[in-house]
């Protein structure tokens, strides 16, 4: 299955392009979805891995207090 890598955001300034809707009617942040869709599946897995590691670091830091 082909995966799109077309960036849907203005990456230089990190903001959604003017014509783009930012949130769906049910409150989902569409900019994050477009950013994830601009990545390959391998890169998406890296993003998840980094998120989990960051959260784990926060949890560990809190446990040491």
């Amino acid at each position: 299955m082909a995966e799109s890598r077309t960036p849907s955001r203005n990456l230089e300034i990190g903001l959604p392009l003017a014509h783009e809707q930012t949130y769906s009617s049910d409150g989902v942040d569409l900019t994050l979805i477009r950013w994830m869709l601009s990545l390959t599946p391998a890169e998406r897995l890296q993003v998840l891995q980094q998120s989990v590691e960051s959260l784990q670091s926060l949890r560990d830091a809190r446990a040491k207090r």
Partner: protein, 164 residues
């Protein structure tokens, strides 16, 4: 038992090295399709044919997999457990791994296979994942609150993918 951080890639590499037939479902599947969300375990539906269970059991040994549920702590999953339709909730040295005999309305590996795609997640590492449509269908079938809560996000990912 200390809880290791999840390392999805490490678990998937070991399953792949042992030629285990499995389908990634759940949160990791959603992320691979582009859903911006975090998840702390890897959910897979495995083939329950005899040869695959033997390969899976060997992979689990390398992963140091033990049950993480009360009453079964420190127990290794047996072949008969792995052959069951039920969910085996395990802790490995690379984090939590849930082996699901069936999902949704009792769909198993063979029934799910036609609703999957292969995605490349590393050098020479392709994994089979549920399609986003199938993942949404499963979460609708399950009807649990946590699954229903994920539906708006997954539906918007499907819409955005269609536009791309």
């Amino acid at each position: 038992m200390p809880e290791p951080s999840a390392n999805y890639l490490a678990i998937l590499k070991i399953l792949h090295q042992h030629k285990v037939k499995f389908i990634i479902v759940g949160g990791v599947c959603a992320v691979l399709h582009g859903a911006p969300m975090a998840t702390f375990d890897l959910d897979v539906v495995h083939s329950r044919d005899r040869d695959n269970l033997t390969r899976l059991s060997a992979a689990l040994e390398v992963l140091g997999a033990l049950y993480r549920v009360p009453g079964r702590h420190e127990m290794e999953p047996s072949l008969s457990h792995l052959a069951s339709e039920r969910h085996q909730l395990l802790m490995t040295r690379f984090g939590p791994l849930d082996l699901l005999g069936t999902i949704g309305k009792g769909r198993d590996y063979d029934q799910l296979l036609q609703e999957t795609v292969e995605l490349e997640i590393g050098p020479a590492l392709k994994v089979r994942v549920s399609t986003l449509e199938s993942l949404i269908k499963t979460k609708e079938e399950t009807g649990q609150e946590k699954d229903r809560a994920a539906l708006p996000l997954l539906r918007r990912v499907l819409e955005e993918k269609a536009k791309a």
